[in-house]
């Protein structure tokens, strides 16, 4: 099922971050984050709330502007150059906590909007690809409904199909299951697991430890705007290096 496209690499890596800094006014949100991602790698970012993990992945497609350091995505350096930003956004898909579907458009129109207007596909082609992805996430019969008529889990799967129809090379998940009822979390995680197995490069911020343990190639643990620990899932959960990590794991695993 390897559908993901090849990426331009910098060295071995498709994403390279070097000493990324970000302030909100006087609040120092990212304090020199450096990391890199290889093609096809699945990375889960963990951390307590306010640790800057969402802010960090949102700098990768410039939903948040970074004020220091370098970010290189797919061989393109992120700067104020709007053409570079547009190019990166075409290749980097993002799934949000609150789904952010467009309520005035049907499911199919939600999915085909960007391919038609950004990729300049014909409507026929866009609809064909959209239906393929809707089938893959398991809800082709909902194509003509409006987002408000769907359950949360279905909406999030539509949002994933909307992102994938743009045929991105990199997928960013920003707490995709945090706004869902417990019984709907599984259906979304199943789709994400399926994508991870298909060779996509994925960065996911999530609180789903089961997903992190079984799917991730690497876990990044952040706290107070810094990367505290990078480790494989096995070592991270059973043999963490840092004291801060142990405290965090204690809090979430033993409640």
């Amino acid at each position: 099922m390897a559908e993901a496209k090849t990426l331009k690499t910098t060295g071995d890596n498709v994403i390279v971050c070097n000493e990324v800094q970000k302030w909100y006014g006087n609040y120092h949100a990212l304090r020199g984050v450096s990391m890199s991602v290889r093609s096809g790698e699945v990375i889960v970012i963990l951390g307590p709330s306010g640790s800057g993990k969402s802010t960090f992945i949102r700098t990768l497609n410039r939903l948040e502007e970074h004020q220091g350091g370098d970010i290189i995505v797919d061989g393109i350096t992120l700067s104020h150059d709007v053409r570079n930003i547009a190019e990166i956004r075409r290749e980097v898909g993002m799934v949000f906590q609150q789904f952010n579907l467009f309520p005035h458009l049907t499911v199919l129109e939600n999915i085909t909007l960007a391919p038609i207007h950004v990729r300049k596909w014909s409507r026929e082609r866009a609809e064909e690809v959209a239906m393929k992805w809707l089938t893959r996430v398991g809800i082709p019969e909902q194509a003509d409904k409006y987002p408000g008529q769907l359950s949360g889990g279905q909406q999030q799967r539509v949002a994933i199909a909307r992102t994938l129809t743009m045929e991105p090379k990199i997928l960013l998940f920003d707490e995709p299951t945090s706004a869902l009822d417990p019984e709907m979390i599984k259906e979304v995680l199943d789709v994400m697991r399926d994508l991870a197995n298909s060779g996509y490069t994925i960065l996911a911020v999530t609180h789903e430890m089961g997903f992190a343990r079984t799917v991730a190639d690497r876990i990044i643990f952040m706290d107070a705007g810094q990367i505290v620990e990078e480790n494989t899932p096995d070592n991270f959960f059973h043999n963490p290096k840092e004291e801060r990590t142990k405290k965090f794991l204690n809090q979430i695993l033993n409640h």
Partner: protein
């Protein structure tokens, strides 16, 4: 017997509630109280009107036969209005009835309302978006504009615009021509180029419709072919090309349709258009029209001689035929002098008396005029008729649409679209004032759409203008339209402030009619009905649009 108990909700112990605490009884009592209150208020209004009518006297209701009846309340409207109106979209003369005078007023109000709504919407939307601009200067300017215009009275703005701005502009002889464009701004208002639709435009219109159908059919056929072959063809390009080709054919066909006629005296022996040139050349004794300018410079001929030799033509003021004929003469560099009349018969008599050598109009009209003329000529003594004998009719090519460019001739503007100072003042005032309120509504509407929508649009790679157009505005519209409707209604009703700048709108002319006829109740009634129907149509259209928009939700 126990099995016959009807199914239904169990009755609660209503016996235990005293009636003054029983919600159902209280509801009925409130209804009764409201109806009684309504009848009292309505009765007071009716009796007040009846009292006023009887104190005004039964002369308010004189019938044409001299009797009195309420049914004759509006009979006075048939009488001559006897006042002049400065701006008349339809023919009007003081000898026309009050009905026609108020009709002119109604059209003027509708004109300023419709244009006002269109431009206030455009300006308001732009300012509203500018308010949210990340550019500090742009958003500040938008804020100042909104604050200034919303916090001062509209009448004040209108009077300032009219007396300080528009009447402060230069006189007609030094009218401003911005950037050398063919438009004039002066004390008389604004004069813009306009398109004149000739009678043959009807034929072009048929071709336009044909072209649209044609392009649609082609679009569908090519679409089917795409589906069959799987290859993409440039459907849009082909549809547009075919549309342009059809319009082009239509233009040629309708241009050859010769229904523009010129009447010339038989004595001039004119057979075709070029003969006009020959006549002027003979009069000036030059070989070429181009020589006139150089001969003038060298002093071989004087300006007076040129004026003398110029072709004297008669036209109907602002008729399509005028634009058509004069623009052909200008193109051929033939000097001419126009005599404009407002009525057909005035042109005819000028022509017979020899005031002009050519008289232009639609073929049918000219043919009828010629027949009439033959009769007149036959009935009058020879000496009174200068342009005697059967007149010659000349057919000219006429384009379906002509550009009419304003020019200064003497102390007047000729051609183009005239916006008087009064019209400009009320239109501009309404636009600027309403746009300020619309800007705030648009800003609120945009801000009501959640931030997540913007982030999703950006993350999908939509450009900023696509984001606004495809994602934000369609959602904001649902919030915008209801308050926008009341702004449009405000604009329509505020147009009655035209009185302050002497623009002849419905209320202004209604006022004049009251003063002249003394029938205040009838006119006030008409004014109420008029503004009510404008308001109801505006809100009817917007409610329909809003419902259509809401339905898209789910």
């Amino acid at each position: 017997m126990a099995g016959e108990i009807p199914p239904g909700p169990p009755s609660m112990g209503q016996e235990s509630i005293p009636f003054w605490r029983d919600g159902r009884v209280l509801g009925v009592l409130a209804q009764i109280a409201f109806v009684i209150g309504f009848i009292i208020v309505a009765g007071w209004f009716v009796s007040n009107i009846l009292n006023n009518i009887s104190s005004l006297g039964s002369s308010q209701f004189i019938c044409q036969d001299g009797g009195f009846s309420y049914r004759c309340a509006f009979d006075f409207m048939e009488a001559d209005a006897q006042f002049d109106i400065s701006e008349t979209p339809i023919d009007y003369d003081p000898s026309d009835s009050y009905w026609r005078a108020l009709g002119v007023g109604a059209l003027n109000t509708v004109k300023v309302t419709v244009l006002g709504i269109i431009f206030a919407t455009i300006l308001g939307t732009l300012v509203g978006i500018a308010r949210l601009s990340p550019n500090w200067l742009v958003s500040r300017i938008a804020l100042w504009y909104v604050d200034l215009l919303r916090n001062t009275p509209l009448v004040l703005q209108l009077i300032f615009l009219y007396f300080s701005v528009l009447l402060g502009l230069p006189q007609i002889d030094s009218a401003i021509q911005p950037l050398g464009l063919p438009m004039f701004i002066s004390q008389r208002g604004v004069n813009l180029p306009s398109f004149e639709f000739m009678p043959s435009f009807a034929i072009l219109m048929a071709f336009i419709i044909l072209g649209i159908i044609q392009a649609q059919v082609l679009w569908v056929i090519l679409g089917r072919q795409e589906e069959l072959t799987g290859k993409e063809s440039n459907r849009l390009t082909w549809a547009i090309i075919s549309f342009i080709v059809v319009i082009g054919i239509g233009w040629i066909v309708s241009s050859n349709e010769t229904n523009q006629a010129v009447l010339t005296p038989a004595s001039m022996r004119i057979r075709e258009f070029d003969d006009f040139e020959q006549i002027v050349l003979n009069r000036l004794d030059v070989n070429q029209l181009n020589d006139i300018a150089s001969d003038l410079e060298e002093g071989l001929i004087t300006q007076d001689q040129v004026d003398e030799a110029a072709l004297k033509i008669c036209v109907l003021r602002d008729a399509p035929s005028e634009t058509n004929f004069t623009s052909q003469l200008r193109r051929a560099d033939i000097p001419y002098e126009v005599k404009r009349t407002t009525r057909q018969d005035q042109s005819t008599s000028s022509f017979i008396e020899g005031d002009c050598e050519a008289y232009v109009g639609p073929t049918a009209v000219i043919a009828a005029e010629r027949d009439a003329m033959d009769n007149i000529i036959a009935a009058t003594p020879e000496d009174d008729v200068v342009n005697g004998g059967a007149a010659t009719m000349l057919q000219l090519t006429e384009n379906p649409i002509r550009l009419s460019i304003p020019r200064i001739e003497g102390f007047n503007f000729v051609g183009g679209w005239k916006m008087t100072a009064e019209f400009t003042a009320i239109l501009l005032g309404l636009i600027l004032n309403t746009a300020a309120s619309i800007a705030e509504i648009v800003r609120a509407g945009i801000q009501s759409v959640s931030k997540g929508q913007t982030e999703a649009a950006r993350a999908l790679g939509l450009s900023e203008s696509q984001r606004l157009r495809l994602v934000i505005l369609p959602q904001a519209l649902k919030v915008i339209i209801p308050p926008q409707t009341s702004q449009y209604l405000n604009l329509a009703k505020n147009s009655s402030l035209a009185l302050a700048v002497a623009y002849p709108d419905f209320w202004n002319l209604g006022n004049t009619t009251i003063n002249q006829s003394g029938r205040s109740i009838q006119i006030i009634l008409l004014v109420m009905v008029f503004y009510l129907s404008i308001s109801l149509s505006v809100s009817g259209v917007l409610n329909w649009y809003n419902r259509r928009n809401q339905l898209q939700e789910r």
